[in-house]
């Protein structure tokens, strides 16, 4: 992974000093509340329902085990001994004290971490595929480009006060595991006929109140122009994006208002002027950064026959193998997902003790790296297949082997009304009720792959519009209700789900889900996934079942 040099280190160190001074001036009454607001947001600090919440950046979801251990230490020393992984591959502390945040930042900087631009109307952490560099279906490794974008966007002076937050995602595989279609900018890395790396650029995707999928504005871009092109997009957005209404301020609204074609023209006009400037990426820099993402020394191994492996394995291993083990590009290796979705745990939460166990296991069985996925899970990316049983047994001991990756109970869930001041409803208790109802692992495996996303309000932190089943918390005269939508998808052919009808009380939602799944089981063709059945038969059969009058 990327290692800081003296320059990178000095930049984060100076950031710590800057925020320490800003915090001191704020606490001394020299900076007014409203003037301090964006300063703290640019360092990841929200004021939440009970305490500040601090969001720490995990650039494109990559952590070293040293960093994981530091997070555990920090959560013990400054918080309540656990952390929360987010849907944008970042990590949050729920109870830090403002006075101590500069110290937390200093401890993070010691292990090459920071909280730069994790909130506020600026360019946020660039996200990517959690299997970057190891995926069997990868065409271009996105990590190099994510790092290049990270450095360019860090403290970009022109784009510190955009109309709204701005999110960039990069993917480079057949399957889009980074949800690029619902980002402000999606970058699809591919290879052209000459085997040269190129980028397809999409803009204007997003969720929230007005969900939209992104439009392609450039089919093919040479790598040296990546940053000048992004800079042109951002400038057009900064100049023309709406600032009169925060719900209409995202770039998607501008792209839709202008039409993608006209937006693209404006970008290209800006780009014509600045494309050859010094921001042009030299081959030397592409080379330098790519040195940090070279292939590790994999052993020459052969793929194992899964049937043979399972035969000798204890019961329970097979469903974990099927569900949580991902095909690696190297024979004899696998990438393993630890879902943070055991029943009773808030999705994405993990204790300091378990973080340390994960770090130890990553050192022992993987290559000292831990990945975070936007599904709020952790990944050990380079496990030898002949160690899988042993690893699984250890994970089992620590309750980290829940075999539900991609299944109904692998819920993507925002912190909701238990923590967040914006939420209309508490999403975590609903997630737990659903996990309790659907605990039968054979049933879950029979139902198969389902993205269930639960957002506590229309800001859509849990991306409910692109869940196969999306659940949205709404407020009906002070009471918590949940609206259900079906048929969304975050893949390359992203679709937005459709609402099935009036919303439900929390206690009714698990039963409603059971009815929905019943329709699927009745109507599915052989080997047809839930989402495919949904898209084939439409909403009507589900509506009829769910809203049928009791006889």
């Amino acid at each position: 992974m990327y290692k800081y040099d003296e320059y990178d280190q000095r930049i984060v160190d100076e950031r710590v000093s800057q925020f320490r001074d800003q915090t001191r001036r704020y606490l001394a009454g020299e900076i007014a509340e409203n003037d301090f607001l964006p300063l703290r947001l640019h360092n990841g600090l929200y004021v939440q329902r009970f305490a500040p919440m601090m969001r720490i950046a995990v650039p494109y979801g990559l952590l070293s085990t040293q960093q994981v251990r530091r997070l555990a230490e920090i959560s013990r020393k400054y918080d309540k001994g656990y952390v929360h992984f987010t849907t944008r591959q970042n990590v949050q502390l729920n109870w830090p004290l403002l006075e101590e945040v500069p110290d937390i930042l200093a401890e993070l900087a010691e292990v090459e971490m920071h909280a730069v631009q994790t909130s506020g109307a600026c360019i946020r952490n660039t996200t990517s595929d959690q299997f970057a560099g190891v995926a069997h279906d990868e065409i271009v490794d996105p990590r190099l480009w994510c790092e290049v974008i990270r450095q360019w966007s860090t403290f970009h002076p022109e784009f510190t006060f955009l109309p709204r937050k701005f999110k960039i995602a990069v993917c480079g595989a057949e399957e889009d595991r980074a949800a690029t279609m619902v980002h402000d900018i999606g970058v699809h890395a591919f290879k052209n006929d000459n085997n040269d790396v190129r980028f397809k650029i999409l803009v204007g995707g997003g969720l929230g109140r007005t969900p939209m999928t992104a439009s392609v504005i450039r089919e093919s871009l040479e790598p040296e122009y990546l940053l000048t092109y992004l800079e042109s997009i951002l400038r057009v957005y900064n100049r023309y994006g709406r600032r009169d209404n925060k719900y209409k301020a995202r770039i998607k609204i501008l792209v839709k208002a202008l039409t993608p074609a006209v937006f693209a023209e404006k970008v290209e006009a800006e780009w014509e002027i600045m494309k050859e400037r010094a921001t042009l990426l030299p081959a030397s820099e592409i080379d330098r950064v790519s040195q940090h993402f070279t292939e590790p020394d994999y052993q020459a191994l052969d793929d194992l026959d899964w049937n043979d492996v399972s035969l000798g394995a204890p019961s329970g291993f097979q469903s974990w193998l099927k569900q949580n083990v991902f095909r690696h590009k190297k024979p004899g290796y696998a990438a393993v997902t630890l879902t943070l979705k055991a029943t009773g745990d808030a999705p994405g939460d993990i204790s300091a003790e378990k973080l340390e166990i994960v770090a130890d296991l990553a050192d022992q069985y993987s290559l000292g790296e831990v990945r975070v996925s936007h599904e709020q899970n952790l990944i050990l990316s380079d496990v030898q297949q002949n160690h899988l049983i042993e690893l699984w047994q250890k994970l089992e001991t620590f309750d980290l082997a829940t075999p539900n990756r991609g299944l109904l109970t692998d819920v993507i869930c925002c912190p909701g009304g238990d923590f967040c001041a914006l939420a209309n409803a508490r999403s975590i208790p609903l997630s737990e009720a659903i996990q309790r109802k659907f605990e039968d692992i054979d049933y879950l495996h029979d139902i198969g792959e389902i993205d269930l996303n639960i957002s506590g309000c229309m800001n859509a932190c849990a991306h409910h519009h692109v869940g196969h089943i999306g659940v949205l918390g709404v407020d009906r005269k002070g009471e918590e209700y949940f609206q259900i939508q079906l048929g969304g998808s975050a893949s390359k052919d992203a679709t937005l789900g459709k609402i099935i009808g009036p919303s439900f009380k929390r206690e009714d939602v698990p039963d409603i889900l059971e009815k929905i799944l019943g329709v699927y089981v009745e109507q599915r063709h052989e080997d047809e996934r839930f989402i495919d059945t949904c898209q084939r038969i439409g909403l009507q059969p589900f509506k009829e079942k769910v809203y049928a009058k009791a006889a």
Binding site: Y7, W152, L162
Partner: protein, 168 residues
Amino acid sequence: MPRLLKNNEFYQDSTVIVTAETDLNSAQETFADKTVLIPVKLWLADSEPYKALSQSMGLLFEADDMPESVEGDLSFFELIAVDFPGFMDGRGYSTARELRDHYKFEGDIRATGDVLIDQLFAMKRCGFSSFLLREDQKQEDALKALDTFTLRYQGSSDDHQPLYRKRG
């Protein structure tokens, strides 16, 4: 207290902003030795009366004014003020960069309006060369803020060379 920061020193602001109601016939006396700031929209409506003034002139950009609209007239001015209606309205950063980088404006570009200490560093990087600070801002902290970072990743109007062109 003087609150115009330029070249690391503080000065009294000596500009005056004209409005549509300003009587230009008596301007010579009223404005005396002040620099007259003319809003872009007034200049575009009719620039002739202003060209007759003997005072030194500056152009005042509001957040929604576009540099390309006055591209041919920039040489009339030694000073361009860019107004920040609220410090979280970041359009002025792009305005300054376009003036410096596209239109090669070499005079003074001044940030006015809601100008706070903690935004000075970014403003400087975008080509601003003077800053009319909001009244409550402390001079000493403002001077320090101009040097918040000794390194920067990306090129900008103050220095076009990104760090990757400087790394050994």
